[in-house]
């Protein structure tokens, strides 16, 4: 089976998804920085909380939203959630990854099958099927907090 790596247009979809999430849900935009390749020399920059969506159906890999506790507490506050516990942070980091994957599906088409989110504290859940291409990191800043969307995806040709 032949797969291709993500191109610039594909990556742009994820940057737009980040912007749409923060603007719609918190009414405050995030600063989305330029995506870069997470090659062997760059560390994955995992934050306190990591929400992962596995993708399949002509695609292989995962989409991970990784954020510090401070950012997720402020996101929860912005959307009116009173409880900022570890469980709520795990919930919201998974949901953010889910929303970004959903936006990607609009771009890639319905063949992109998306799993329910899994989320972990200080570790990253293993992907069901790892992509072989080099992952991209899309860094963002919101309320003085730094987070990353890491897209590790192969697309069937």
């Amino acid at each position: 089976m032949n797969y291709r790596a993500l191109n610039h247009e594909d990556i742009e979809v994820f940057s737009e998804a980040i912007s749409a999430f923060f603007l719609n849900m918190t009414h405050e935009p995030a600063v989305v920085r330029t995506a870069y390749l997470l090659d062997g020399t760059a560390s994955p920059l995992w934050g306190d909380f990591n929400g992962v969506i596995d993708v399949s159906g002509g695609f292989r890999g995962s989409i991970t939203f990784s954020a510090p506790h401070g950012m997720l507490s402020q996101v929860l506050q912005a959307i009116g959630e009173r409880e900022h516990s570890v469980d709520r942070c795990l919930d919201v980091v998974g949901e953010i990854a889910n929303m970004m994957s959903g936006r990607a599906r609009r771009h890639f088409g319905e063949e992109l099958a998306i799993s329910p989110p899994s989320a972990r504290l200080r570790t990253v859940p293993p992907a069901a099927a790892r992509a072989t291409g080099v992952p991209f990191a899309i860094p963002l800043r919101w309320h003085a907090h730094e987070a990353n969307l890491v897209v590790h995806l192969d697309i069937r040709r």
């Binding site: 749409a20 999430f21 719609n24 849900m25 009414h27 929860l76 959307i79 009116g80 959630e81 469980d87 709520r88 919930d91 919201v92 998974g94 949901e95 889910n98 929303m99 970004m100 994957s101 959903g102 936006r103 599906r105 609009r106 088409g109 319905e110 998306i114 799993s115 329910p116």
Partner: protein, 123 residues
């Protein structure tokens, strides 16, 4: 009489967010009859509490939203169901509507979009 609403989503944060919006003064009085984290829970609550309106996520563990909508259309045909999902492609929306959903709200949504969608569902 208050409108009876069931909220179905595997995210508690999203369930709570929708539940809080029920108090918006633009909406008619709403009685929250249940919160469900997957399709199986939703079916059990729907059978016992008979909601008039249901907000339904699609990507959930155990029983997904599409399968749940199909079952609800059989066992509770009078209930009006609005899909609230990150799966925002047209095919998914049309498939959900063909199974028995009455509306579709894409995540991420603003409070304004949620209230407008609930008003439309309840009109």
């Amino acid at each position: 009489m208050k409108a009876r609403l069931l909220i179905v989503d595997d995210s508690m944060v999203i369930r709570n967010l929708i539940a809080r919006q029920m108090l918006d003064e633009r909406l008619p009085p709403i009685d929250l009859v249940g919160l469900a984290g997957d399709g199986e829970q939703a079916l059990a609550i729907a059978m016992s509490r008979k909601p008039d309106f249901i907000t339904m996520d699609l990507t959930m563990p155990n029983m997904d939203g599409e399968a749940c909508i199909e079952r609800l259309a059989e066992v509770l045909p009078g209930a009006r169901i609005m899909v609230v999902s990150a799966l925002s492609d047209k095919t998914t929306a049309l498939r959900a509507i063909s199974k028995g959903a009455h509306g579709f709200l894409h995540k991420p949504f603003s409070e304004e979009q949620l209230v407008a969608a609930l008003l439309e569902l309840m009109s």
